[in-house]
């Protein structure tokens, strides 16, 4: 061998084509793994309760179900289920309330909204629309017990509850006034809203670097002072900005805002934290940019939107009679060849859970549903499960390894994805 001859280099510069092929190969492998993971979903049915209307899963895995009045405007009772210990406890029920006297009974009758604290240990329930403002009710998840009321009765009248993703200890409530709660305190303490500016459609913004509670009382929103308006849709962006829309206008506008709140009760702010859906116009959904509150998109949707969910890819999925995919960046929407009434996107993967009615009879309670897990990229159904009764709510666990489906038949369906098939 000639020792002076330098070895011939095998590859000086990696081929871009090769790199692209490797990336594409990784994508194909990831796709296969995703298919196997979701295809091997283990569905289990647990008959927990009769007819809960909504379910919420805490970051610690506790499941809260609530029963609502016939028109869905009042919470009748709340129960907490711990999947690990398989323990279910009704923490608020009319029979319990009757023992608490007239004031407590009235409070329970007015509960309209509930949410888990970001730490997952507490459940908070709020009441609305009563001339006498009411405080938040706080429940401990582990022992499934009522811990007490928090806040002064004259300042809290929340419409809805939102968590700040940037600091797990903050919670926002909105109603005739907005409060930010430090729920890690014992007992939780409210902060007063700090006002930044009144924007053109009466939105109020709290910057992350502002300290709540420092501003004087005259900075309270006028809606609070006048008592004629209300706030809806409080939302935190990733940088800690809190946004809420207030209105002093007519009941119809207010009800529309509440409708928007109800529609977007899962994820109101997009996964990229740039867009915020605030209102649903006639056959369209309007999105606003969080930082400026400028309108970002108005996308065409079916006349009635029953459910909205942000996909991990940043698209917004809207379900009415048909399913629409809204590309928020471009403001375009397209109808997908699916029919579903309810959608709930996976927090990590490009998978969306759809609930579609198989047979719609005159008696809605007799309908049965299929829950489909659909990959949004190619609309392939990766898993499917028929469930009896209407699908009232669906919720992914925070790590995306479980899907909870609540039906009007009183069943809690759990779809678990295990590493081992």
């Amino acid at each position: 061998m000639d020792s002076h001859q330098s070895p011939k280099p095998e590859c000086l510069v990696p081929s871009p084509t090769g790199a692209l092929a490797r990336t594409a190969a990784s994508a194909l492998i990831k796709r296969g793994l995703q298919d196997v993971t979701f295809t091997c979903a283990r569905w289990t049915r647990k008959h927990l309760w009769e007819g809960p209307r909504a379910v919420r899963v805490s970051p610690l895995g506790y499941v809260a179900g609530r029963w609502e009045s016939r028109y869905g405007d009042r919470i009748l009772s709340i129960a907490i289920y711990n999947p690990e210990s398989d323990r279910r406890s009704v923490i608020e029920a009319p029979c319990l309330a009757t023992r608490l006297g007239g004031a407590e009974q009235k409070l329970l009758d007015l509960l309209t909204s509930f949410a888990w604290s970001p730490c997952g240990r507490y459940l908070l329930a709020a009441a609305v629309d009563d001339p006498a403002p009411l405080p938040l009710r706080l429940y401990g998840a582990k022992q499934s017990e009522f811990l007490g009321v928090i806040g002064e009765p004259d300042v809290v009248q929340p419409v809805s509850l939102r968590h700040a993703p940037w600091k797990a200890k903050y919670l926002a409530t909105a109603g005739h006034a907005i409060r930010i709660w430090d729920i890690e305190c014992n007992p939780p303490e409210p902060f007063r809203l700090a006002k930044r500016a009144a924007l053109d459609f009466s939105a109020w913004v709290l910057q992350a670097n502002q300290t709540p509670g420092e501003l004087p009382s005259e900075d309270l929103p006028p809606a609070h002072r006048s008592g004629g308006g209300a706030f809806a849709n409080p939302a935190f962006s990733a940088d800690g900005t809190l946004i809420a829309v207030s209105t002093e206008s007519t009941e119809s506008v207010l009800s529309q805002l509440r409708k928007a709140t109800a529609l977007s009760s899962g994820q109101q702010v997009s996964t990229e934290w740039n867009e915020l859906v605030l209102s649903q116009g006639p056959e369209s959904i309007v999105g606003f940019e969080v930082s400026t509150l400028e309108q970002r998109f108005e996308a065409k949707t079916p006349a009635t939107v029953d459910s909205l969910s942000w996909a991990a890819s940043g698209e917004l999925i809207a379900c009415g009679e048909r399913v629409y995919r809204i590309e928020a960046r471009r403001g375009t929407s397209s109808a997908l060849p699916l029919q579903a009434e309810f959608c709930c996107c996976h927090p990590v993967h490009d998978i969306c859970a759809f609930a579609s009615c198989k047979s719609k009879g005159s008696r809605r309670s007799l309908s049965s549903y299929n829950v489909l897990l659909v990959r949004l990229a190619d609309l392939v159904t990766v898993a499917e499960q028929p469930v009896a009764g209407d699908v009232d709510d669906m919720c992914w666990s925070p790590d995306g390894r479980k899907l909870y489906v609540v039906t009007s038949a009183g069943d809690l369906w759990t779809c678990a994805f295990s590493e081992v098939p």
Binding site: M1, P7, A21, L28, K30, E327, D378
Partner: protein, 254 residues
């Protein structure tokens, strides 16, 4: 009486001997770890080839049909959203095709013999780049080690022998003279070996944490239950292909 003078080792020579023992131990350990790393790489590569031959090509077919469907819809609907969806579908089909083309279509099982393992261990011990004395030596060792890895993955014992022979007869394998120089060389080799040993475990963890390794682990779990994961995946994708074909055929022509 004439007495022969016994050569007593100098402190440097004693130190050199101690360091050589340490280096030998490290070389053995390094060869063993490299063997494990190469084994994992080989197994994953073999699984990847089988995956692409069994499932990957079906994904490519499915993506192609979906792209045709989206293009057909875009031609009939003529909206911006439909055009955009068609372009995305076509891009996806193109990428899947590129991924498949880049793969070796011939699936091979990776089952190294004891002789092959022993040969690889010997090559790793002798020609490992992190045991090089200088830049030129390192360059040569890197080239030979890459060839050795490839030969091991392909189960080519003859090629491993040739690599070993090539290095043994090359000038770089001749050590310099002088205790001090040897001592410095050995100390540097020890440092390099330790550095490489520290790198191997994270590399192994990274490989085992990859999507491919997770898929392979699932396949092994299925195998214990008497099922073939890849075959079942392929059957499922074939059903999806049939559905996609039906959707394409149902679309109105231009």
């Amino acid at each position: 009486m004439h007495k022969s003078i016994a050569h007593l080792p100098t402190p440097e020579e004693e130190e050199l001997a101690t360091k050589r023992v340490e280096l030998n131990r490290l070389e053995d350990e390094l060869a063993e770890r490299e063997l494990r790393l190469a084994g994992i790489r080989g197994e994953l590569a073999a699984f990847q080839r089988r995956y692409f031959r069994t499932v990957g090509l079906l994904y490519v077919e499915l993506d192609e049909i979906n792209a045709q469907t989206a293009e057909q819809q875009a031609r009939s609907v003529k909206t911006e959203a439909a055009t955009s969806a068609a372009a995305s579908a076509r891009q996806r089909a193109r990428e899947s095709r590129a991924a498949l083309d880049a793969q070796a279509t011939e699936a091979r099982d990776f089952a190294p013999s004891a002789e092959l393992k022993s040969l690889y261990r010997e090559v790793a011990k002798r020609v490992h780049p992190d045991l090089a004395a200088d830049a030129a030596d390192r360059s040569k060792r890197e080239r030979l080690m890459a060839q050795a890895n490839q030969a091991y993955e392909q189960g080519d014992a003859d090629r491993l022998r040739k690599i070993l022979e090539e290095y043994e007869t090359s000038p770089e394998s001749v050590h310099g003279s002088g205790v001090a120089a040897d001592l410095v060389r050995v100390i540097r080799k020890i440092a390099q070996a330790k550095k490489r040993l520290a790198q191997i475990d994270p590399e192994i963890h990274e490989l085992l944490d990859s999507d491919l390794a997770k898929l392979k682990a699932k396949a092994e779990e299925w195998q214990k239950q008497g099922r073939d994961l890849l075959v079942e995946m392929a059957e499922r994708v074939q059903e999806q292909i049939a559905g996609a074909r039906r959707r394409l055929e149902e679309l109105p022509l231009d």
